[in-house]
Each structure stands twice: as C-alpha cells, then as structure tokens.
Subunit: 77 residues, 2 copies
Amino acid sequence: MKKSIFYHAGCPVCISAEHDIISLIGLENVEIIHLGNDKNKIEDAEKAGVMSVPALVTPNGNVLHINFGASIEDVKN
Amino acid sequence: MKKSIFYHAGCPVCISAEHDIISLIGLENVEIIHLGNDKNKIEDAEKAGVMSVPALVTPNGNVLHINFGASIEDVKN
C-alpha cells in the first residue's frame, strides 16, 4: 500500500496527533514530515491541499486536517 | 485492541472522512456512530471531548477532530 504522509510542525498538538496516528495506522504505513525543519516540503504540502498542521494526506490523496496546531502560513515564518 | 470510535453526522465531509478512516485503520478497529440518527449518543461524545464532527476518539481516549463537518451544537438540532 502507498504510504500516507503526516505533515506536522513540532507543535504540541502535532506531536500528540503524530503519536495517535502512528498508533492507529502503524509507523510502517506513514511518512512523517516536519515542515518546520524541512521547509522545502511546504510547497508539496500546499499542492496536496494541506491548509493547517497536523494533517494526514491519505494514499488516495485526501487531506485529513487533524485538530489544529498551526496554519500552513504560520509554518512559513 | 480496544476500538476507536468514529463520530459523524452524515454530512459529506463526514462520509468522506469515514471512508478514509476505515481504509486507514480497518473497519474491524472502529465503531461508527451517526449522531444525527443516534442522538442519545451525543452526551457520550461530548463527555469524550468531541466538539465537532467528524471526530475519531482513539482507544486511549484522545479526540482527533478531522476536517470540519458540523459543530456538536449543530448536531443537537
């Protein structure tokens, strides 16, 4: 199965959601991307439709915005 | 493993998220509750911390609010 991608930015809400997602779907099924550390991935995230973090992009391309840590605009700063 | 509980209210955002969640974690790992049809479960959802639907309550009790379909207040009407 194609992996999901979990985008986050290191905020407490993100870390909590990351633990939950890994517990639910398994670390082997998800790629974790920290947009604060990996700012060159922000454009990919935006193209995928990510508007806030944490967010999970599913293998079929849907975006699940989970709770609310920060807007993608805030991550750019 | 204790099941997660997915609360929704039949809205298009809910249905889309429901399909994604079932695809990601497996139908056997999640109980689906339609709060529009099952209004006596609204109190349980609120006690669990659900503020909007769709939302996933994980086995350890965390609430993942996924995208935004409707507030829990709207579901009461």
